[in-house]
């Protein structure tokens, strides 16, 4: 044995932690600057008008009629979105997990598709279908109605698109809960005399309630802060929400930072309040009651209603995928006349967005640049955080996760405004880097949560045995933990890449001429180009995203030795 390592001198108590402590302090400092400082900047800005602190501006803002209307719109849209996404999400999850609905295996992955797609592209595709005059359905029904029956440029239209796109959140949470539930809990209800539907209502759903509630609050908060869809569908019909007003305040000339900051603070307080409420409500009640045994929860026989269930799930998918298909068709037409015509078939729209249109080109290149580097940096940061939190005894590590989770409560548009106010006077402003930093911070919670569960899925004894074999901390992490979570890290990278590619809100606050992202480019193209061109660009983005998603599923399926 090597005596050299055995005889190394012991060191004194405080240096127990030594460099580790420096690293922790450093991490706290970075998180404080990137997570807390932009928020503080927004809050401080709301109280400053000219010089000195004042609340006068706040009073002024909240007595303006169109702002009161925007607050009301925001609330109505959020509530409608939750009702839609909650109802549809829970129903679909139950049908997939607990019924004998045919085609379950086909529907399950399809139901998750909107989770990955850009809701702005979704809004665009719904324009194609249900815009008051030019919309496909409206033009089909034109002969029968005096007025176009559907108007997507409305509170209801916004809520519909948001509901469709946030259904997968509720679906995913509920499905997970239903699939991990102990079958004997339901069996014993049946043995106690409850019918199968009674059991579903009285036992199954209440046991999943924490998961469902959690998802619903998440959807509610997200819908309240969402920016892209209200911008695309609300502004044409003069339906304003808090987020579009924040954007408008910045785009006025001169920009009204104080007004934007006040509205942002209000929006942030609202979302933060609900997130905190969610944490409080769910503390200590996680029901679901997982069982280690191999019992599969029994499926309910729907009888004749099986095909009705297929209809319900099919209708949801039709609402999501149908408009996309319409958009796809439109993108291959040189002009849209309300119906597809072979004679008008063309690739000119794609040629234009890929090779000719400067903004489209820039958006594509910029987004790929930001997303590639950003996802790499984010995965590295999140893995480091997860390792420090779960694989060290460093003092203060417990506080890191809550701090890094703060952006969960911050709508992208508020975060974007924060970075704008904080960094507008620095050389970072007007670069791609500022957008990249905003993305990394905004989705830090997603990255960290995934990294944490990856690290936790590796048994501690695996790296402890490396320590006992003579490896110090970093070699043990690098040679044991990291290789074991590598497939998960690839999945996480792709997930973040996809998320960055379709980001709208903070990009909208931070882009300048030359640093447009793909979503910004899409929104600008929508303003001055016909459906065909913007459709082609939207399809392009969607294809990119779907390719990544297919890859994620490839990477994260089976494999993994013993975990």
């Amino acid at each position: 044995m090597s005596l050299a390592s055995a005889a190394s001198s012991p060191f004194r108590l405080p240096p127990f932690y030594g460099q580790g402590l420096v690293i922790v302090v450093l991490i706290y400092a970075v998180l404080a600057i990137t997570v807390i400082y932009p928020l503080l900047a927004v809050l401080i800005q709301s109280f400053s008008e000219g010089s000195g602190l004042t609340t006068a501006k706040i009073a002024e803002v909240f007595t303006t009629p169109n702002i009161i209307e925007a607050v009301a719109n925001t609330l109505i849209i959020s509530v409608l979105t939750v009702v839609f996404a909650g109802g549809v999400g829970v129903t679909l999850a139950w049908l997939i997990a607990r019924s004998n609905m045919p085609l379950r295996r086909v529907f399950d992955p399809l139901n998750m598709v909107p989770f990955y797609l850009s809701s702005v592209v979704g809004a665009l595709s719904w324009q194609v279908v249900a815009a008051p005059r030019s919309g496909l359905i409206n033009s089909l029904l034109e002969p029968f109605f005096a007025e176009p029956p559907f108007n997507i440029y409305s509170v209801g239209g916004i809520a519909l698109v948001l509901g469709l796109f946030y259904t997968p959140y509720v679906y995913l949470f509920t499905l997970g809960s239903l699939q991990s539930m102990d079958a004997s809990l339901e069996d014993s209800a049946r043995m106690s005399g409850a019918s199968k539907f009674m059991t579903a209502i009285r036992i199954t759903l209440p046991l999943s309630a924490p998961a469902i509630l959690s998802a619903c609050i998440l959807v509610f908060v997200t819908a309240a802060g969402i920016f892209g869809v209200p911008l695309v569908l609300g502004v044409p019909g003069s339906v304003h929400t808090l987020s579009t007003l924040i954007y408008a305040a910045i785009n006025e000339y001169p920009a009204d930072f104080a007004k934007a900051a006040i509205l942002s603070s209000a929006l942030f307080l609202f979302t933060a309040l609900f997130t905190v409420a969610q944490i409080l409500i769910l503390r200590g009640r996680r029901f679901t009651t997982v069982t280690g045994k191999g019992y599969r929860p029994r499926r309910v026989d729907l009888g004749r209603w099986r095909w009705a269930a297929v209809g319900v799930n099919g209708l949801y998918l039709l609402f999501v995928i149908g408009p996309f298909i319409a958009l796809l068709l439109v993108s291959f037409q040189d002009a849209w006349t309300g119906a597809f015509a072979w004679s008008r078939l063309t690739l000119a729209n794609y040629h234009k967005v890929i090779f000719i249109d400067a903004i489209a080109h820039r958006g594509l290149v910029n987004s790929i640049f930001i997303s590639t580097i950003g996802a790499t940096v984010a995965v590295a940061i999140c893995m480091l955080l997860a390792l420090v939190i779960h694989r060290t005894r460093l003092p203060g590590r417990e506080g890191l996760a809550p701090l890094a989770m703060v952006p969960v409560t911050v709508p992208g548009i508020v975060l974007g405004l924060g970075f704008l106010i904080a960094l507008i006077a620095t050389p970072l402003y007007g670069t791609l880097w500022i957008i990249m930093i905003a993305y990394i911070v905004h989705y830090l919670p997603t990255g960290l949560r995934n990294s944490e569960s990856l690290v936790q899925s590796v048994s501690r004894e695996l790296d402890e045995s490396a320590r006992m074999s003579g490896a110090s901390w970093w070699p043990a992490m690098r040679r044991i933990v990291m290789p074991l979570v590598a497939p998960g890290m690839v999945s996480l990278w792709l997930l973040l890449f996809v998320t960055y590619i379709r980001e709208v809100s903070s990009s909208m606050m931070l882009f300048t001429f030359g640093t447009e992202t793909i979503s910004i480019a899409l929104i600008q193209i929508m303003e001055y180009e016909p459906y065909g061109v913007s459709g082609a660009f939207g399809v392009l983005q969607t294809v990119m995203v779907l390719a990544c998603v297919a890859f994620i599923r490839q990477v994260s399926s089976p494999r993994q030795g013993n975990a």
Binding site: M1, S2, S5, A6, A7, S8, P10, F11, R12, L13, P14, F16, R393, S459, E461, L462, E464, S465, A466, R467, M468, S469, G470, A471, S472, W473, P475, A476, R479, I480, P483, L484, G561, N562, A563
Partner: protein, 387 residues
Amino acid sequence: MHDARGSIPGKSNEEVSVSRSVAVNVERLVMSFGTVQAVRGISFEVAPGSTVTLLGPSGCGKTTTLRCIAGLEMPTAGRITVGDRVVYDDTAGVFIEPERRNIGMVFQSYAIWPHMTVGGNVSFPLTISGVAKREAAERTRAVLELVGLGELQARSAADLSGGQQQRVALARALVHEPRVVLFDEPLSNLDANLRERMRTELQLLQARLGFTAIFVTHDQEEALSLSDHVVIMNKGLIEQTGTPQDIFRNPETAFTARFLGYSNVFPGRVAAIGDAGSVAIDLGEGRTLAALWRSPAPPRQGDGCTIAFRADRVALNPANEPAGGNALPGVVETVAFLGTCFDYTITAGTLQVQAEGPVDHPVARGQAVNVSVPAEHCHAFAAVAES
């Protein structure tokens, strides 16, 4: 794998056994998790080349103690010495990281790295400490031979059976020739047959290589059969230490007795005190048994106490025959045939006595019997407030 001695290069039996008088010394070790004290100031020594088992129910602090020796936990207070090196001392501010303690460890889950081959797992400790490739390969091969896995070197570690995983874990713990090897419930994940075989193999290996072994287990049989010394732990404290025979024959506390399978444990009062530790214990309802006092503190007349005896020390005599002294009259309540013996429950007033009897002299249910226990097999302990 017959001549294992010297098959690991640079190692011989003498080198290890001559070296020092204490291989591991734990002094006043305290480990708190928040407000909970898992280990409450325990001390014990482990002689070089010996096998010591920390035995106790789950939550008694045995695994925590082992992990403190390994360096995987930072103790709250105390001092730990491995060989001649202090690896932890709270007052001197010493804490040696686990990788620098030169201790081998076999984990409960075996912790085999699934992304490596068997050879990769076993040679890891050598590559990490910079042993030359050739030598590392040679030593890996040798130690795999030793545990009987010579032919599996290139196999992926992800598809090994439980027994094979255990051997790989053992080989990995031994390959860098640590003086001390720690075992955290090494046999608990194996089925009964395999467990017995691995137990024997472990003993043979240790005899050959002469390392000092510290085991943690909750299985008394494993502890008694494997070790030179047993440390019985309860609620973060040491209840008793001694050789397996010593502990088994002379438990010092009611906890130890109960934990070692003394199935008859009853409360009573000291009725009379005789010579050489002999006492008479009043079990109530006029029943009295003679016993030997085991607690360190001397007995006092009238004090509450606990009496314990094993089921296999009990003799059953028909009620009409002479009882032969130190007996309780009772009625056979249940009879169970266990193959090598009969297992009886006898109701003696409010007491339920467990007894074993030979297969060739069955006693029928409902029969009135005298349950007699020789006084030297009846252990009496001062009563402790159990929480």
